[in-house]
Amino acid sequence: MSVSDEERLARLALSQIFEPGDHRIAGLVSALGGIKVLEMLRTGDHNLPRTDVAARLARVDPARQLEIGMRRGMRYVVQGDPEWPSQLDPLDHVAPLYERTGCPPGLWVRGPLTLDTLSNSVAIVGSRASTTYGDEMASRIAADVGRAGYTVVSGAAYGIDAAAHRGAIDAGTPTVAVLACGADRIYPSSHVRLFDILASEGAIVSELAPGLAPMRLRFLSRNRLIAGAALGTVIVEAGKRSGARNTANWTGRLSRPLMGVPGPVTSAASEGVHQMLRSGEAVLVTSGAEVLEMIGSAGEHLTYEELEPALPRDQLTLREQQILDAVPVGSGAPVDSIALTAGISMITVQGALDVLRARGLVTLSGDGWRLTPAALHATSRSSS
């Protein structure tokens, strides 16, 4: 199914008339199509406050906008295009947050990566005021999920966002940035090289028209796209008031897995994450493998708890362990004294000592039984 030019331009016009995520038209475009909704606006067949849209409606020129965008190396992708990331569609049915919700009418894209790669993607976001620990974890998890075939989605901001992109790029795996300004802009401006690489190898995505500036509320709409594009969201570091909380909320509303990487409890940069973990909102993850386990289908990407290497002691019965504990380290002891210390009958002790000797844990010399050096090593860890 291909999208008609008219539909594409209609959606483009709508994206210019309404602020991104305007809850008043949520679901309308998906249900009726852009042409129909635009027609309703023009004919006045709607319940929206008329003055809100009139000014912009008069001025939109979607054909010209499309041409400007294309000249700046961008394309406008809408529902129905082969690369449309359909996991955004459920946003139409999500209750508004700060009066924002809904699937966007279309997305501006700069970069060669097609958005259908987002069907296998993980969002990694967090504080802009991150620490070196958080950066390292974000990069590492991004590289791990990247190597497993997943696209890393983030917001290209300072701190955790940049670290996540950096990790994916280092692993040579796809990564996508979703912006709260026009996709032709470089924001923050010092991330020139990150944007260069994203534009030449990944994708920069925005529902805002080219040239539009980032504004505070636009970040809240943008966050719904990051959460909506990915199968799950990982929060690496977030202070109490971090914007990452907003992305976490969207993830929750979409009923997708929300994951948190813990930090030192003394670190202010991790307070927000710890709150989410404590409230049960987020699941604790410490590695890319654990993220994959959370976002995979049931039984996919299962991780295994690493066990401590088995100690010789672990293979003994409890009674044998009890007797082993009673054998002295230094000078040897006779069977009856070991039996007394262990509180076990001499016959049982005699039998057990033979077993322990066969395992190389005790030795019999002139003055009686004592532990071998191997036994000392074998038992000391469990004494901690």
Binding site: A143, A162, R166, R193, I197, P309
Partner: protein, 528 residues
């Protein structure tokens, strides 16, 4: 003329003192006496000098007369075989083999062999330096050490092979043939052997590692000591051996001191001229106390600690170092010099270096989270290993960093700055310190005494309050708080802030306590 005088130099550590060697040849009980606080090695010189003169077919006065040799000033302890040549010259002048006036203004340095040949001695450079300061204009040294002696400006250096050549040089006779003198051989066993590689390494070789690179820059800027812990293979050594590349050139004094120390240790390569670049010393953890801090039997040899003067002393696997070595580090870490007591004399050598300690998380090095590798240590072993990182030495460390295995392979977004770029910032920060401390004895923040720091260079009150809160909370000792204060100044010097404020205090605390740092501080716009 029965009395003659030659000059030589006595060494006390790296400091030389001009010594007058007077010889008197007069009737009396036949024999030779050596007086003036001479130690056994010098005393044996009587025999070497006698045989050298006899075997050189020169007149040995003591077969018919009484020879008295006086080394003055008499209260200065003198040791070493390098006095041989001066003693021989004074005796030969006193017996009339050479003109006593020809010895004026000349210092004689060298050990004699029984056949009359000269032997190389350690410490020629500091000796010539001292002689030059006291007005000596000419020195006679064993031939292989002529280049070393020539590093001192304004002194005519005569390099010779034998006593006969010395006599010929003094009398103006034709120079006789003599076998070549072997150069001084000195081994630095159990030590890091990558010195030649130092010129080829650069910080830009290391990918990622943003945080430790930043910490090392701060340490270099203020001369702070650093502890890096991390599992095997995470880059501790790679970082440490690149620290000298971000240090500015040695100051004039440091350069002279270090070159003199190398001369004393017998490891000076005169072809390289005066030391200008900061050294890197990395003794092995099995090294003896003498080889690390200096000492040894007989002549005091400077240890690795002094050979790192003005540069970096790297102690890899610090918890495995011998206890006596660790204990001996206390003094130099605080004072910047090391005193080696031997018998009744105590010799002080300069030892002002940046100390970098490295440690694994445990003896096997695999005790890290996330099950990357399995640790085979017992809890008791882990505890014992970690315990060695606490105590007096750890408290004297300014910066603690935990290093994780490198996660980047190429890191196209990181800007791998080269050492020269970092060095420029370090030099600028050091210049600010030099200006601030122009009227004092110290140059770097790490060396400012705590009283002066509190009195003259306090932080902003809000910054001090942040540090005080940590003391109140028991997370910081008083000594630690002073170190944080010094670090805060270095951070201010790196960013150009007038006085350390809250952000400097917080980052300084993080550096000291081993906490992760704010990325924005570390990256300073260098990524992205």
């Amino acid at each position: 003329m029965p009395v003659a005088m030659a000059h030589c130099v006595a060494l006390s550590g790296a400091v030389g003192h001009l010594v007058d060697v007077q010889a008197d040849v007069s009737p009396g009980q036949v024999g030779i006496t050596l007086v003036g606080r001479v130690d056994p090695s010098l005393h044996e010189g009587r025999e070497r000098v006698r045989m050298a003169i006899v075997n050189s077919e020169l007149t040995w006065a003591a077969t018919t007369k009484r020879v008295t040799v006086l080394l003055s000033p008499a209260d200065l302890p003198k040791s070493g075989a390098h006095f041989d040549l001066a003693i021989a010259a004074a005796i030969l002048a006193a017996t009339g083999e050479v003109d006593p006036r020809s010895l004026q203004g000349t210092a004689f340095i060298g050990e004699l062999a029984l056949d009359g040949g000269l032997r190389s001695v350690a410490g020629v450079l500091p000796m010539v330096l001292a002689a030059s300061k006291r007005g000596v204009r000419q020195v006679f040294v064993p031939e292989p050490q002529a280049r070393e002696a020539s590093m001192v400006p304004g002194v005519t250096v005569v390099g010779l092979r034998s006593l006969n050549q010395v006599v010929a040089a003094l009398t103006g006779d034709e120079m006789p043939e003599a076998p070549e003198v072997p150069p001084l051989s000195a081994g630095r066993y159990l030590a890091w052997r990558g010195a030649a590689r130092l010129d080829d390494v650069d910080m830009a070789d290391l990918i990622g590692l943003d945080e430790i690179k930043y910490a090392v820059e701060v340490a270099a800027a203020g001369g702070h000591h650093l502890l890096i812990d991390g599992p095997k293979g995470c880059g501790k050594t790679s970082i440490a051996e690149r620290i000298p590349t971000i240090l500015p050139d040695l100051t004039g004094n440091e350069s002279i001191e270090l070159t003199a120390i190398r001369s004393l240790a017998g490891v000076l390569d005169p072809a390289l001229g005066m030391a200008t670049r900061p050294p890197f010393s990395a003794p092995h953890h099995d090294a003896s106390k003498a080889s690390v801090v200096g000492g040894g039997s007989g002549r005091v040899r400077p240890g690795e600690l002094s050979l790192a003067h003005g540069g970096v002393l790297f102690l890899d696997e610090f918890p495995l170092f011998r206890t006596d070595v660790v204990e001996a580090l206390r003094e130099p870490l605080e004072n910047g010099d090391i005193t080696v007591a031997r018998g009744e004399e105590a010799i002080t050598l300069p030892a002002r270096s940046m100390v970098v300690l490295a440690a694994n998380p445990c003896a096997c090095g695999n005790n890290v989270g996330q099950g990357r590798a399995s640790c085979t240590c017992t809890q008791v072993q882990i505890r014992d290993y970690k315990k060695r990182l606490t105590g007096p030495i750890a408290d004297r460390i300014d910066i603690t960093r935990h290093l994780n295995p490198v996660s980047f392979t190429r890191d196209r977004l990181g800007r791998q700055e080269n050492s020269a770029t970092i060095r420029t910032r370090v030099a600028a920060a050091r210049l600010r310190q030099a200006e601030r401390y122009a009227e004092h004895d110290w140059r770097l923040n790490a060396h400012v005494p705590s009283a002066a720091l509190r009195e003259l260079w306090p932080m902003q009150p809000a910054a001090q309050a942040i540090v005080d809160a940590e003391i109140g909370g028991g997370r910081l000792t008083r000594r630690g708080a002073v170190k944080v204060h010094r670090l805060a100044w270095t951070l201010a010097d790196l960013t150009g802030a007038e006085v350390p404020g809250e952000s400097e205090a917080r980052t300084a605390l993080d550096l000291r306590l081993g906490h992760p740092l704010p990325s924005a501080t570390v990256l300073m716009g260098r990524v992205g």
